[in-house]
Symmetry: C2
Amino acid sequence: MPEDTTAEQAAPEDLWRLRRSIDNIDTALVAMLAERFRVTREVGQLKARHRLEAVDVAREEAKVARLRENAARAGLDEDFAEEFIRRVMAEVVRQHRIIAEEG
Amino acid sequence: MPEDTTAEQAAPEDLWRLRRSIDNIDTALVAMLAERFRVTREVGQLKARHRLEAVDVAREEAKVARLRENAARAGLDEDFAEEFIRRVMAEVVRQHRIIAEEG
């Protein structure tokens, strides 16, 4: 049984089933995000070694546009998808600058 | 070849390879987010039918705590993970309120 201690103990069986799906999806999302930052750390080290800029605006904008298309096809709100990827990319740039300074 | 038209055309082969990984991960993230909102829309409809509250603070806080643990295990920054899931949950609540009003 899930750890609910609230009014929703009275909720239907379906709710419990759907929440199991959400929990599984969240585990997958965390794993995917962890892997994305693992790869972008490698990119950061490569950029630092080759003294490349941490930010590539043209590539970022192309990425946003492509992600919005993917979102539309998958039935995900495009603005939500854009906000999400911009937040991720900002964190990547922050990490790349730290890597460049450390290197 | 990727669609880079910037200075990074001169970047090493490894960068291209890593960016292919990032693009694949982003496709997976979009698909997972789309699926999460598909499931939470079902939850919203269920809650509306049973006149349950859109927000369950106890469940949300338990979810945040569990996600931070998952993030730590996966090597993902815990604060980033928390900010991410809180943004997702805020969007879910917004959608659930719309569903409740429409119902």
